[in-house]
């Protein structure tokens, strides 16, 4: 790539203080926020009427469970595609 213009430089690890998102306290806070939000919206699903177009939507946590399972499935199952599809980076001679 001829058009890129490099700025800054590459640092070795440990030559600077940890970035904001690398601090254990930040990571902990992110976890807490995520869990609180998940719990809150899961509960909210049972408080409000979630009935939509299909019967399954009537169950308050349908979307929560569906999202969790589908995401895990995509990641856990999808990576096995590499066994069939993965080739060296310069596989195509072009």
């Amino acid at each position: 790539m001829t058009e890129h213009e490099q700025g800054g430089e590459t640092h070795e690890h440990g030559s600077e203080p940890p970035g904001f998102f690398d601090k254990p306290s930040t990571r902990k806070a992110v976890w807490i926020v995520l869990i609180v939000l998940c719990a809150g919206f899961a509960l909210a699903g049972f408080v409000i009427d979630t009935h939509g177009y299909f019967a399954v939507e009537g169950f308050g946590a349908f979307y929560a469970i569906f999202g969790f399972i589908v995401f895990s499935f995509i990641v856990l199952a999808g990576q096995h595609l590499r066994k069939i599809l993965m080739r060296p980076e310069d596989y195509y001679d072009d």
Binding site: Y53, F62, A64, L81
Partner: protein
């Protein structure tokens, strides 16, 4: 203003001509002229009355009459033409002083052709603009000038031209069957139930550009290899012009529901294992167009609104995501996940804009994707298409995986690459900032978008049930991601090439083409050898007889002549003696 003047001052023509004017200008003047041209063109567009159509009789004979309609403005063409203006303007800002003359001119001509195509009322005009988009956009793929981008550009051009040929075939079949050239809704089957080949040819032409499954690889092949600014431009126009053409030509065509649903799912898996983040975005683009194609297939007013709204917001957030990855590429020289990570430290603004794009495409409430995708999902609900709805819900979680989380996480967070590049240059930040503001603005004020949709809508995306269920889907999927990372179950990125359908034409197809070319060469040589051998043999015989050494050219000794003369004279003497 006469009709001809109106056509010559229509948005498509203005923008293409503006692009050509810029050829002779310096980078700053060019950007200024381009923005001014786009503004004028947008004003012309907004000034049109809805329902305007300008037609000329191309052939007006008793047995055949064919009308040309170079300009048609209705609510469907308006929204696409408008968003194409916005995308083109964003790109002019982003590319200012970063791309070069060729790319600037090609990029805007490409945008102008897309605008002209959206406003075309007949198939011939559509065909002309269709081909300009193909040729102009190819320059953006060729732009980096590497061997890799040259190969991808050639493959890209072949596929785009193929699409144009199908369009031309459909046009010819339409005219020859006496149906004229008007570009209106059509059916894949004739009234008798037979397949209508004219419509089928158009369907394939649009399908190639919309990147239907098995016709899709040109997209993932070329977009990641285009220049930094090129991939931003490319992401906006070709596939969305195809979505427009499908919405115009085939609303409610059942096969589109299933084609679209398939398109939403399979790229999810390819995006998961892909290391090149611009290629991840290309797969994501495929998946997003799937939602639109599916909505076109449903074909109700709500669904067509969903397709148009999705195209509108998608162009903005997809451009934003490509712009952020372009900024990363510009500053670090790579967009490979294995070589990136931790860039939020020194590129915080780019990281924030990227996250806004990611949240928009994932359809978080208050972001633009939410207010558009809700229309499509509701349209599926109204029609009771449960399994299609489930597939699209599955794909929605997939979008969160590859575009919502993977792109920002691996570029800006994740494993620290140690790279500390400078923040993106100001023009990139301005373009990303405007796009991000539009993403949030549309998300917060959806009625502004709904007002320009093809059909009048009374739709409220922000109901408690909508917001809560969508937040559940996204938050619990995010929780799954966090847990998979925590327990090291999320696959590491690997520097690799992952095979897709294009393998069939790039490896066995190419070998077959090589074999066919070798075999036809050998066959020719064999026939030539036989033919030239025969000719050679004949020439040898002629030479043997008539050549300098031949019977007919032998030199006769004088003694031999004298002997023969004596024999002849003796013979004459004998005859004379007896006579």
């Amino acid at each position: 203003m006469t009709d001809l003047q109106a056509v010559l001052t229509s948005p498509g023509v203005i923008v293409v001509l503006t692009a050509l004017v810029g050829m002779g200008l310096g980078p700053t003047a060019r950007a200024a002229v381009y923005l001014a041209g786009l503004a004028v063109s947008a004003l012309v567009l907004v000034g049109y009355e809805q329902g305007l159509a300008i037609s000329f009789a191309l052939v007006d004979a008793p047995y055949l009459s064919v009308d040309l309609t170079p300009l048609r403005v209705d609510r469907l063409s308006f929204i696409f033409a408008l968003i194409f203006h916005i995308a083109a303007a964003l790109n002019v800002i982003y590319a200012w002083r970063i791309s070069d003359r060729v790319q600037d001119v090609a990029g805007l001509a490409y945008a102008g052709a897309a605008i002209g195509g959206a406003l075309a009322g007949d198939l011939l005009t559509l065909f002309v603009y269709w081909e300009i988009t193909a040729i102009a956009s190819a320059f953006l793929v060729f732009a980096p000038g590497t061997r890799e981008s040259f190969g991808a550009g050639m493959r890209y051009l072949v596929v785009q031209i193929l699409s144009g040929l199908f369009l031309l075939a459909g046009l010819v079949l339409f005219v020859s069957s006496g149906r004229g050239m008007a570009f209106e809704a059509m059916s894949l089957t004739a009234a008798s139930g037979e397949l209508d080949f004219a419509a089928l040819a158009l369907f394939l032409a649009f399908g190639i550009k919309a990147a239907f499954p098995f016709l899709h690889n040109w997209l993932q092949d070329s977009y990641p290899k285009a220049s930094i600014t090129g991939s931003v431009v490319l992401s906006a126009f070709t596939t969305k012009l195809a979505v427009y053409a499908l919405a115009r030509g085939f609303p409610g065509a059942d096969p589109l529901i299933y084609i679209g649903a398939a398109m939403t799912v399979f790229p999810v898996f390819f995006a998961l294992i892909e290391n090149n983040l611009r290629k991840v975005l290309a797969y994501s683009l495929n998946n997003q167009v799937g939602f639109m194609v599916c909505a076109v297939g449903v074909g109700t007013e709500l669904a067509i609104n969903g397709a148009a709204a999705h195209a509108f917001v998608h162009i903005i957030y997809k451009a934003l995501l490509f712009m952020s990855m372009g900024a990363v590429l510009y500053r670090t020289g790579t967009v490979k996940a294995t070589e990136l990570g931790g860039l939020y430290r020194t590129m915080p603004a780019t990281a924030v804009f990227c996250i806004i794009g990611a949240m928009s495409i994932s359809a978080f409430p208050l972001f633009s994707g939410f207010v558009a995708k809700s229309l499509t999902m509701s349209a599926l609900g109204y029609e009771g298409l449960f399994f299609v709805w489930l597939v699209l819900l599955f794909a929605s979680a997939g979008v969160l995986e590859h575009s919502g989380i993977k792109i920002p996480y691996f570029a800006f967070f994740g494993h620290d690459s140690g790279k500390r590049p400078k923040e993106a240059p100001p023009q990139m930040l301005v373009a990303m900032g405007v796009a991000a503001a539009l993403c949030i603005g549309i998300g917060v004020f959806p009625q502004a978008l709904y007002a320009i949709l093809p059909y009048d809508v009374k739709y409220q995306p922000y109901t408690a049930a909508h917001v809560v269920t969508q937040m559940q889907l996204l938050l619990f999927a995010t929780l799954a991601f966090a847990l998979l990372i925590k327990f090291k179950l999320y696959p590491d990125e690997v520097a690799s090439t992952n095979l897709d359908f294009d393998w069939f034409y790039r490896v066995p197809g190419r070998a077959l083409a090589g074999w066919v070319s070798g075999a036809s060469g050998a066959t020719f040589n064999a026939f030539w050898a036989i033919f030239s051998g025969r000719v050679h043999a004949i020439m040898e015989r002629i030479y043997a007889v008539h050549g300098p050494e031949g019977q007919m050219a032998r030199s006769w000794p004088i003694g031999f002549m004298a002997l023969w003369t004596a024999i002849l004279l003796g013979f004459v003497l004998v005859i004379a003696f007896f006579a």
